[in-house]
Amino acid sequence: MYVAFSVAVYGMKAQKNEGSLIIKIHPVFNGKALKLTTEPYVNAHQDSLFIDVFKCYLSALKLSPGNGVEFKETKSYHLINADDSISLVFVIKNIPEGNFKTLSFNIGVDSISSVSGALDGDLDPSKGMYWAWNTGYIDAKLMGRSKQCKTRQNSFEYHIGGYSGPNKTLQKVRLDLNIINIEPNKTTHLELKAELAEWFNNPYLLDLSVTNAVLIPGKEALRMAENYADMFQVLKITSPKK
């Protein structure tokens, strides 16, 4: 009874004035679609490298009109994983109709979640994005190999995170959408690229022979986070067909 009632209410609401947005992430390296493990890339320091793992959290998604009420996604945590195409596409539902100008979100997980114990969904600690010995979420991971790394199997590993004091790695992203249309009962598509070359440059040029393991919160993690803060860029917006 109650269920039927809430479904009805929900249905009515959705019918009235809400639409959805599908966001698709395209991981790229120097603009080319990312191929894990097998494809060599060259970073700003001219080191040749392979990428094996790319994962990161996008959280607190928000759409803002120029003026007027902004839309905030509730329970907004999305773990994207280059090796799992399903994770690269997600839907944001129940957005009030209207024109929005900017999309903002965070790369990483807020500090409150990092001190809230065992959480569910994409925040479930079994997703492997959680530090056990110094508890808290890993905001982003990039792992791969390069001849420049004098490490076991020439590997480099970046596990970036840190939620407290001066070690906060959470990065705020604001993307200009020009104008994006959300129409009732329709779906708008937004495609973003995640440019992994950004991890290695701007503002800090990375030398893989020097920086090949960043696995704890601290100065190095902060620098990497500053580097990748602008890896997301808008590729394409597709408004619903009239």
Partner: protein, 345 residues
């Protein structure tokens, strides 16, 4: 007419069975705050205690399935009879007998703790279990793989269903289950507690009374009653072990002021949780008292209250020791609810 009665009876029967099952699922496990104690730090509203949740946690705590080669359970290092400490091992060992770098402390009244581990690296009880599970020299397993292993076992699917309403097993639910067991590991029935509550068998001897007085003067600022910890970190003057080079809290905060500070442990059931300190360097309580009395090593971060020698007489040390023994709680150490779960579930 006859049909109707039958339908009615079957209906009643179903209702009762349903109610019975509901009761089994939702029967509350009581978490009692002993009189005069502060509120626990753990937020029970997000993980409501139930009999089913507690028994799932108990099953997990005692099950070596949590380790990579199914050789080690939580209880391998945390034994009930010794206050859930790893007795006789200065440094705990785990999978394939590999030796860890720290002594396993007892687990007592964890719902009141803000931080876990000697360096406080774990900020919440629910994620505590991840540390031993993923440590390569402890259980060397991943939470994700545990979820996969448990999902193949009917008894676990049933236990998760009883605890959470459906049989989905997730990392979060494994951790919430273990936490339901851990938060119940409460000790508040030692002779000391009975003394405080003015109970019959809580009469303190002159020695014990004198010990308590000395304790309050020299130890109480850190090992604060009634939990016997102030939930803080301190440098209590131990010499650095040059082979372990463990700087405690510093390794988490990288703040020089935290160098050589370790979590103040509770002293409840201290009689049984030997060896003592983060590296288990002292085998006997008398060695601990000698340390505080005349072995304090001075360093930049040494606690203020330990700067001046205590100058306790042999008699005073004995009294203090006798008092520490009043913190033993047999009803906790032998509580059937916390022992290896023998019943089939």
């Amino acid at each position: 007419m006859k049909h109707r009665i039958w339908i009615f009876l079957i209906g009643i029967f179903c209702l009762f069975t349903w109610l019975a099952f509901r009761c089994i699922k939702e029967e509350p496990v009581k978490f009692l705050i002993p009189k005069g104690w502060p509120k626990p730090h753990y937020d029970f509203s997000k993980n409501k205690l139930t009999a089913a949740g507690f028994s799932l946690g108990r099953k997990l705590f005692y099950d070596p399935v949590l380790s990579n080669d199914s050789s080690i359970s939580c209880a391998s290092c945390h034994l009930q009879a010794t206050g859930f400490a790893h007795v006789d091992h200065d440094l705990s060992h785990g999978i394939e007998g590999k030796i860890g770098t720290r002594n396993a402390p007892g687990i007592v009244n964890p719902a009141w703790n803000k931080f876990f581990m000697w360096d406080g690296g774990v900020n919440h009880l629910e994620v505590q279990a991840l540390a031993p599970i993923t440590n390569p020299i402890e259980m060397n397993e991943s939470l994700n793989h545990i979820v996969i292993k448990l999902s193949t076992q009917l008894s676990y699917r049933k236990a998760f269903k009883r605890a959470f309403g459906d049989s989905i097993i997730s990392g979060q639910r494994v951790l919430l289950g273990i936490s339901q067991f851990l938060v119940m590991l409460n000790s508040s029935n030692s002779k000391y507690d009975k003394y405080i509550r003015h109970e019959k068998d809580g009469k303190f001897s002159v020695q014990e009374l004198n010990g308590l007085k000395i304790f309050r003067k020299h130890c109480g600022s850190c090992h604060t009653e009634p939990l016997f910890t102030n939930n803080d970190f301190a440098n209590n003057g131990l010499k650095v072990d040059t082979s372990l080079k463990d700087y405690g809290r510093y390794s988490i905060t990288h703040n020089a002021n935290d160098s050589l500070k370790f979590k103040v442990p509770s002293l409840r059931n201290i009689e049984f949780t030997y060896p003592y300190m983060h590296d288990g360097r002292f085998k006997k309580l008398s060695e601990v008292l000698n340390h505080y009395n005349s072995g304090i090593k001075s360093s930049k971060t040494l606690a203020n209250e330990l700067q001046k020698p205590m100058q306790l007489t042999a008699e005073q040390k004995t009294d203090l020791l006798v008092f520490l023994l009043t913190l033993s709680d047999k009803s906790f150490l032998f509580d059937q609810r916390f022992s290896y779960p023998r019943e089939k579930s």
